[in-house]
């Protein structure tokens, strides 16, 4: 599959501080790639380098097969969408006016506004002034603006950080729709559930280095312990193996009506991150 992004031994140093140390990865066309790590791990720095907002100190970064620096050329900008922590809106204007400006800049018909408004669950709020919006609503408008022009490659830096679970779910559905239409998504997040739900592959970034890069399901299998957690009717929990021995044990509990629930004991991505990096994601 064609690589949309290729990063080779990328490094970024700010003064005495190393933000990225020799990171390498590829993002394939059409995939949702999760860049996971705690605050300050280098996620935003990577997005800024890939979108030509920042120069790398060393290494190479290619987007659409050209050096990332060339992404500032107009014909490439049309193909990307970006949401970062420094994306802003015009506070005295309405949601509709803000999005209309970008429709004109990207040569997109204004009818597209309705579609993206629906995707971010803001239907009926179009005429509201941006200054009157909550933080979560602002985030959703910025998100809507980032994919207004149906970009080939969408960079999302913590897109649901200010959102409640209901609105996050709306966004996830919107992103899945974009993905089904062929958009490649580069997603940074420290929400492991989000990554698990959306990403085809995830990279764990810690202290400026990639410590692991794999598909979530492969990781779970690799770090899983092949055990089932059985909750008994007396409130106790027992761990049993998934093999024939465990089956026999489970049968015995079931035979005397003692099983209240059975859960797979797979680790979450959060558990794996902590195991690999020794750090919590916050």
């Amino acid at each position: 599959m064609e690589n949309i992004i290729e990063v080779k031994r990328l490094a970024k140093i700010f003064g005495n501080e190393t933000a990225l140390k020799d990171i390498s990865f590829e993002v394939k066309k059409g995939e949702t790639f999760g860049f996971l790590g705690p605050s300050g791990s280098g996620k935003t720095t990577t997005i800024k380098i890939l979108t030509a907002q920042l120069r790398e100190t060393d290494g190479e970064a290619y987007v659409f097969g050209v050096p990332a620096e060339q992404i500032k050329q107009n014909h490439y900008r049309r193909r990307i969408g970006v949401l970062t922590d420094n994306s802003g809106l015009y506070s005295r204007l309405s949601i509709w006016d803000n999005l209309k400006l970008y429709c004109d800049l990207y040569d997109v018909p204004a009818t597209r506004i309705e579609e993206v408004i629906e995707m971010v669950n803001l239907k009926g709020e179009e005429k509201k002034k941006v200054s009157a919006l909550s933080k979560g609503m602002l985030q959703r408008v910025i998100l809507a603006r980032s994919f207004l022009h149906k970009p080939e490659l969408l960079f999302l830096d913590e897109p649901t950080s200010a959102l409640d679970p209901v609105n996050s779910r709306h966004i996830y559905r919107g992103l899945e729709k974009l993905k089904s239409e062929g958009t490649t998504i580069f997603l940074t997040t420290h929400d492991m559930n989000e990554a698990e739900l959306l990403c085809d592959r995830v990279a764990f970034l810690n202290n400026g280095t990639i410590q692991l890069l794999e598909e979530p399901k492969v990781l779970k299998k690799k770090f899983g312990n092949d055990m089932l957690k059985v909750e008994l009717t007396d409130g106790t929990e027992v761990m049993i193996e998934k093999g024939p021995k465990g089956a026999q044990q489970l049968f015995e509990y079931m035979n005397v009506n003692k099983v209240a629930g059975i859960q797979s004991n797979e680790p979450t991505l959060g558990d794996i991150f902590i195991e690999v990096t020794g750090r919590k994601l916050s």
Partner: protein, 236 residues
Amino acid sequence: MNQSIKRTMAIFQKDYKDFTKNLYVSSMIFLPLFLAAFYGRMGVQSLDMVFMVFNLTLTVIAAFTQSALIAEEKEKNTLRGLMLSPAGTGEILIGKSLVSFLISAIVLIFSAFLIGYQPENALLIVAALFVSILFYLGIGTLLGLITRSVMEASVAILPVLLFFSFSSFAVQLSDEYPILKVAEYLPNSQLVDLGYAVQNGAGFGDGWAALLIITAWTIGVSALVVAVYQKKMVDK
């Protein structure tokens, strides 16, 4: 419509809507108009006073308004959004200058009307004022780009305002202090000189030197604006 013009006009329309709702900046247009009306009612005929109002209009409207509009884009992180869009440097800078340009032109026309200024060669004065607006827009854009907020831009504009509104008076002291002769070559002084020349019957043939000097300043400032803008596209 050509896509480039469409993008420029989209930025202009957005700025126009935003400007009408921005009382802090839009209320500034009354300052030169008030001064012009005051001098007009007093029957002031001195060209120095007329051009002081013009230079004040250029600094307060063209330079200050422009610096505030650009600085606000930076402060609210909206300029980066424009930079990441398909709009090019020229489209963004021209689109972002149109509101300040039109308001400056309108206020200059009204100021001239309120003072009762009727030059012998209106075309030459209009040409000089046109180029001067571009120069002050450049100064405003530059200040907006190098400051971080509207408040910072409002402070940074003060010395510019004083310098370009009143430095033409410094030329009168150049006999006593020869160093002040340099002020003769400032665009505001050239504008005043041109005003006097036109009053004495000068045409385009006599006024081209002043126009050329103001144009040279404008080109210099514009080149600086583009260089600083390009630099601001990339974080440090």
